[in-house]
Chain length 200, copies 2
Amino acid sequence: MPEGTRRRGRPPRTESADTRARILAAAREEFSERGYEKTSVRGIGKAAGVDAALVHHYFGTKEQLFEAAIEVAFAPALQAPDAIGDGPLDDIGERLTRFIIGVWENPSTRKPVLAIVRSAVNNETAAAVFRRLIAAQVMRRVAARLERPDAELRVELAAAQLVGCAMLRYVIKVEPLASADPEELVARLAPVVQGHLTGP
Amino acid sequence: MPEGTRRRGRPPRTESADTRARILAAAREEFSERGYEKTSVRGIGKAAGVDAALVHHYFGTKEQLFEAAIEVAFAPALQAPDAIGDGPLDDIGERLTRFIIGVWENPSTRKPVLAIVRSAVNNETAAAVFRRLIAAQVMRRVAARLERPDAELRVELAAAQLVGCAMLRYVIKVEPLASADPEELVARLAPVVQGHLTGP
């Protein structure tokens, strides 16, 4: 069998990295499509062409698999705190605002983000993953940059402005917010976010 | 049968106002408990002790019943825009912030609000009800008070700050926001909300 076509079929068991990647891709797709609650490990296994036991073998529980799937989906986002935190403090509000609006405006990132938000709103386990991953990794790293005793609360209230805007604009689709120009939103929100982060 | 105990049993069909109220109470409970998607008209009828056909007779579709149930649950909240809008414009931000945090801090209103948020995040029909009811009735009435061409967008961005705070504090439960003192939140958020509504 030529190398080029072999990959399309089910790979031999020994290709464990490949199998792992396939399970993870299936998990991302299933969780994005159905949300945490309605997704089953069995369904993910089926979509990946493997037994549910093998899914558990590689990833542990459904919660751990969800966390792994989110971590892969958000690999670029999880790098972002560096990009946001590394620049000057006096426009960190604009960088954070542009980053979050950019994630939601990009159709390829909007879908997994929406799936996480939906899952976290509906399910305590998914909310816990959200807290660990987004809160701990993203928010805490921005907070570290502020060097203030109330830095974490500041970052969370700034995040609240952006999360709420995303909810009303992209999920509930309230007008005129849903049709507003992204640049106008950056112009209106960046000073608010900046105020939360570095204001008096 | 004495009047006091008769009400506990299933009332005669002729007591239509009573039946209607009972269906509405069952609908509020079921929608709060399960969210829009998982609630059925049949289940609501069963909880109210009536046939599903009678539920449809009184309230129309599941969507219409959801809207009626929300309208009842939020009757106090839907009066609020008057209370918020009637005072002086220069502390409207604090009144709106106190009102929203008050709704979430009160256990009896938190549950139905949470049910609406969950339903609206998960289901387009529920999102449409949210838009009509909350957006049209609450937001537009606050916006009318501002007398500015961009009033609606201002109100929505102010609401976004409060919605996002509620999401992270009461739903996702991110710390330290989840344990912050409500008065500290009012102190930090009211100026932001005020800025959105009446700022430059």
